[in-house]
Amino acid sequence: MAISMDKALGNLPDHLSVYGKRSTLLASNIANADTPGFKARDVDFRAAFEKASGNQLSLTTTSGKHVKGTIAGAAAGPLYRVPNQPSLDGNTVDTQIEQAEFAENAVRYQATLTFLNSKFNGLKLAIKGQ
């Protein structure tokens, strides 16, 4: 029985790449907290994850001639944040929100890393067999 890396790791690598991209976006938001006219952006984690892991929801087709549609509205790309308090210079970054989101994202990233590490340790144990 061969060990399949893909199956062994599950969807954790996809999680990691989505969290990585999200941290880039949030860091951009924090860096531009004082830039006039800058619009804060964030990703919808669920949509981004579904896109990264390739299982987007699609319509069931009963014939080969049917159009395969995907659910509209679940955009995987970055979306603009709706500000709680619009500011005069057109900037929509709320530093507190961005900091909180960034911290949460970092913790989730770290948790995913821990899970991945324990997967690797399990694989090592299986290979050594002792």
Binding site: L26, I30, D34, F38, A106, N117
Partner: protein
């Protein structure tokens, strides 16, 4: 971070020159302010990352104060000296805002560095 440090620098030069009087409005110090703009750093897939750039430093066009001080060595023919249009309260608020933004950027940098190191150590231990 470098943009915020430019802002801190400009603020400190404004504060330092708050009392640098001049003989005419042209030669007197005017308050300076940096102009920030977002600049696209990289594009991976549909997630672009934006950095900050200082587009330039503009001088405040607010009118200068005139003070009647005939005994002042820099006074003009009518006995007036011109005082820079630096608003101390504005500059202090600017300084605090810039240093807080600098702090949160340092925080982000530290966290990102830790996460990257942890990713590099993946599978070890």
């Amino acid at each position: 971070m470098s943009a915020e440090s430019v802002r801190l620098n400009v603020t400190s030069s404004n504060l330092a020159n708050a009392q640098s009087v001049g003989t005419s409005p042209e030669t007197t110090y005017h308050a300076r302010h940096p102009v920030f703009s977002a600049v696209m750093k990289s594009m991976q897939g549909d997630a672009a990352s934006y950095g900050v750039r200082v587009d330039g430093i503009v001088q405040s066009q607010a009118p200068l104060d005139q003070r009647f001080q005939p005994e002042h060595p820099m006074a003009n023919d009518e006995g007036y000296v011109f005082v820079p249009n630096v608003n101390l309260v504005d500059e202090m608020a600017n300084m605090i805002s810039a240093s807080r933004s600098y702090q949160s950027n340092v925080e982000v940098l530290n966290t990102s560095k830790q996460l990257m190191l942890a990713t590099l150590r993946l599978g070890q231990s």
